[in-house]
Symmetry: C2
Subunit: 586 residues, 2 copies
């Protein structure tokens, strides 16, 4: 037995007990004839005192301990004279009588403190040291608590967690698969699942009724800051349900998590917003509704006054930044630069201030008289002291997305995106399809198994681009934490869907025959949803990136810099797999 | 809303209620003017009655329903006249007034009954129909309950579930890895983890203190009946522990599972047996201790009496089959054939019956006098009516393994291997190394991170083959359900271990440098264990194979016959991965 207690649990009521602790040396300070050692483990920090007068050899030994040494210390719990109310163990200290070094440590390459001096790369290379920091460890503790609560909740609702295979077949529809060569079946490959979508649908066909799984999924995509090649989904599916049944159940789960994990009691139903409204008022299918600043379409007051930029625009829209009329020219120029960045791509920005006397002063005053500007301000419900920001463009959807970025930036600048405030909503009635310029055809906006809205089914033949789906996303603070849909359970409708997506019947059968055949043997109506665990933990932890809620994340090149993976294979392994690497000449 | 209730919940107290159920048609029978329809879902079966006199159209429609049609039925809960005490819903039936076909079904290729007429191949191809059978579904429900209990237990003991990556580096030590080509790093490969062994050790270095994960692991092995290329481990690791700490905690978990899942209260500590004793008395490192029949070494009484088979043997050992003296010559010949099968490989079998008068009648009477045979029987504590079975050979270990198979077969024949009886034990003190004929070197018996017993460390230099490890397996009914060890936490000892295993320092650094380096920054003493979830569920479910506790298992060629995976890739995918398949000429 290495310890009687952890470094986080001793209290004043333990005074007088002889205890043994084990942990890491956080810091050491000599003060007069005493040496103070802060001993750290996952559970906390306990102060240990070595008294030179009583035990000079031991104190001398303690003085030689380095940061991050692993030591075992025995001693007596004693009330502190100078208590530290900021530490749970701050009322006591251990008067040491024994010290054993369990393992020494080199000087760590960065400090193991909440505010470390280690840069990102170094911290990732020594991730096992980075994880010793409270800030990072707490994220993993939060993640554990969240998955425990998810499981408790879904178990209480009759869901079964069922593991689906990781070695499945490759389905070129969707993102790129990671593939796994099969040695026993040379020349053939498994794929790692992008999601257990078809398998969970088969579980519904098999009558499992309520399924969930917290499961790794894989996508071989070019990575952005908030993407990982492997990520974790809370994957759920239910039988004999309509959209409202799914939404109600998982809204209940979200509320449960908010209450248990964040201590936030959400009593109201989450608002529901159609995709069309989300695009119209926020330019995004995942609007951040912690603040208003909804788009106001301004074609009517502003078009046709001789300002060619607006006169030629397919869309003119603006937002009202409350109380921001005091923005300086420099700040406004910076905003213009912001929307003109290539990632956003606006050509320019028009602004207008509402003065205290109600007059409006704009950057395009030479084209507009005061009446027109006032009409605009009225339409936007702008009040004295407000700032109006306007974008326009010849592609309405693109302009709305630019205005969305501007709105988010203004929300940030005005402090309206408080990480401790949560605004949840459902976005519903997504379009079934979206046009892919790259592929030159309609693609499924969610996936090819999504059920069209019953009333829109006739349009599948006449105007598929207008068909809406029984699909829904849960959005919190502008983050899509989950999404799902009612699925097709009819093999004929599924076949039609593949046809619209440009599959020949043979190709559809080859790739999804197992599912369409299954539908012929009594498939129940079903639907479900998947939450992105990484995103949700990040949201609850107040992180900007999902990376710090993942124990061993990969970098933007898909590399694990700690393990140095991926790496070239032993040629013997390639031979066994009947594979050759064919790199292009440099 | 598709249903007001499930098919498993209505009781007599619901009589008079109007309800709507949805589910699958299990069977239909016409009796006089009534049609009885058994409606099934995951939760049970409810009898529905259609009365021709009251509603002939509806009854006519019901008569046209086929097996496995998905239907929605509304009606009134009514007390049955002929109750069925074998069904939880057997007191009531639904008098139907509405019937909607939600989805028809083709005639299923096998019957959806506990005893199905479907063969293994057919059931696997239509696994989604096979899973509708109670027998299979119950295994998945059991699996869910077990993982819930494991998580509850470990959470209550302060363990954190931490996800480790699935895309890691390949480590040729151990079994074969499945590999994953990286498109973003052409010519380089990830590997799928055989276990999170090194990553959980890094989590200990990071101070996580108590880690667990229920996690998929992968081994590209040639498959046997009870192996799958992907399998699930309950993977655990603890810091600041000695062997007893780990054993006590996980014995507690096993007892918790026995109690919660099987209703079996195990109050005694599990016995511990050294590996040496397990081999000596049972010829196996995972003895089935539900029954005795321990080996008795018989060199002393039987060698040197002119029976050349025994005289030349390096090992002679026997077992006593209680009360089996009545075995016929035919039964004994069958046993001889059993041990001579190539999989077992014994040259022959000697037997002896202990008669009611205490005399011993053996198959080698011409070489042994009655005194010798009686001395043998006495040494074996055989009593009148018992049967003695003896094997011998020139390789003691091999002969013991043959005798082990014979013992298990006799246990089976004598009904001593009751699936509802559980005998648990720990096998401890495993050898550190075993000699590999194939590799011509010592190999780690568990893995290269296992800590040698402190008292044996000096032998690492002088006689490594004799070194024992701080390793332990939990064995239940002859099944190794889990195993683990105390790990090395000292980078120098770890380096020495790699040296003994034939690694050059460069090779060790290349493959395990990340771990040995981590050990230099304050690694705590640590150890852990991993349970095989599939095996444990099978054991609790009384299954002979792990396959039926896995939703979508693979066959012995590693194929998923339902998904038809693996399969050849689209050439475009290979191009993107810079890979070429090089199949040998036929």
């Amino acid at each position: 037995m290495y310890r009687t207690n952890t470094c986080g649990e001793l209290r004043l009521s333990d005074a007088g007990r002889r205890v043994t602790l084990a942990g890491w040396v956080q810091r050491i300070r000599k003060m007069g004839g005493m040496t103070f050692l802060d001993l750290r483990d996952r559970y906390g920090i306990t102060q240990v005192v070595f008294e030179n007068d009583n035990n000079s050899d031991l104190t001398e030994a303690a003085n030689h301990m380095g940061r991050e040494f692993v030591v075992q210390i025995s001693g007596t719990v004693t009330e502190r004279t100078a208590k530290n109310p900021n530490m749970p163990t701050g009322d006591i200290e251990i008067i040491a009588d024994k010290l054993t070094v369990l393992n020494p440590s080199l000087v760590p390459p960065f400090t193991i403190e909440d505010d470390t001096d280690g840069g990102d790369d170094l911290r990732m290379r020594f991730r096992y040291l980075d994880l010793r920091r409270n800030a990072v460890r707490r994220n993993l503790e939060l993640r554990h608590r969240m998955t425990m609560e998810v499981r408790r909740y879904l178990d209480s609702k009759g869901f079964l967690e069922i593991e689906t295979p990781m070695l499945v077949g490759s389905t070129p529809e969707g993102a790129r698969d990671f593939v796994v060569p099969s040695r026993m079946n040379p020349g053939q490959f498994y794929a790692l699942p992008q999601s257990p979508q078809t398998l969970k649908q088969l579980l519904m066909v098999s009558g499992m009724d309520r399924y969930f799984q917290i499961v790794k999924c894989f996508r071989d995509e070019d990575l952005r800051a908030d993407r990982q090649p492997e990520f974790t989904q809370i994957d759920c599916e239910m039988s004999f349900v309509e959209q409202d049944d799914v939404i109600n159940l998982f809204e209940g789960m979200a509320k449960h998590l908010f209450k248990e994990i964040r201590g936030v009691e959400l009593t109201e139903p989450f608002p529901r917003m159609t995709w069309a409204d989300a695009m119209k008022y926020y330019g995004s299918d995942k609007p951040d509704t912690r603040f208003g600043m909804r788009f106001v379409e301004l074609m009517e007051p502003l078009k046709g006054h001789g300002f060619s930029v607006f006169d030629n625009a397919a869309y003119i829209g603006g937002i009202v930044a409350e109380g921001a009329a005091s923005y300086t020219r420099k700040q406004l120029d910076a905003l213009t630069d912001f929307v003109k960045r290539p990632q956003i791509g606006a050509k320019g920005m028009v602004y207008a201030r509402v003065n205290e006397d109600g007059t409006v002063k704009s950057s395009v005053d030479k084209f507009y008289d005061q009446d027109t500007l006032r009409a605009m301000a009225d339409k936007m419900q702008a009040r004295p002291g407000d700032l109006i920001l306007i974008l326009s463009g010849d592609d309405a959807m693109r302009t709305r997305k630019q205005l969305c970025e501007l709105r988010l930036e203004m929300g940030r600048q005005l402090g309206l995106r408080d990480k401790n405030k949560f605004s949840c909503l459902w976005v519903v009635d997504f379009p079934m399809f979206e046009w892919s310029e790259e592929e030159g055809r309609l693609m499924a906006m969610h996936h090819p198994f999504t059920h069209p809205k019953d009333e829109d089914i006739p349009m599948l033949d006449t105007n598929p681009a207008e068909v809406r789906a029984d699909a829904y996303d849960m959005v919190i603070n502008g983050v899509e934490v989950g999404g799902g849909s009612i699925r097709i359970h009819d093999s004929k409708l599924q076949a039609k869907m593949f046809e619209i997506l440009g599959f020949t019947p043979e190709k559809a059968q080859e790739q999804f025959g197992f599912l369409m055949n299954a539908f012929k043997y009594g498939a129940p109506p079903h639907g479900g949803l998947a939450y992105g665990l990484d995103r949700w933990v990040s949201l609850f932890a107040g992180l900007d990136s999902i990376r710090d809620c993942i124990a061993f994340p990969k970098n933007n090149s898909g590399r694990d810099v700690m393990l140095d993976a991926p790496a070239p294979l032993d040629p013997k392994q390639l031979d066994e797999l009947k594979l050759a690497v064919e790199l292009p000449e440099e």
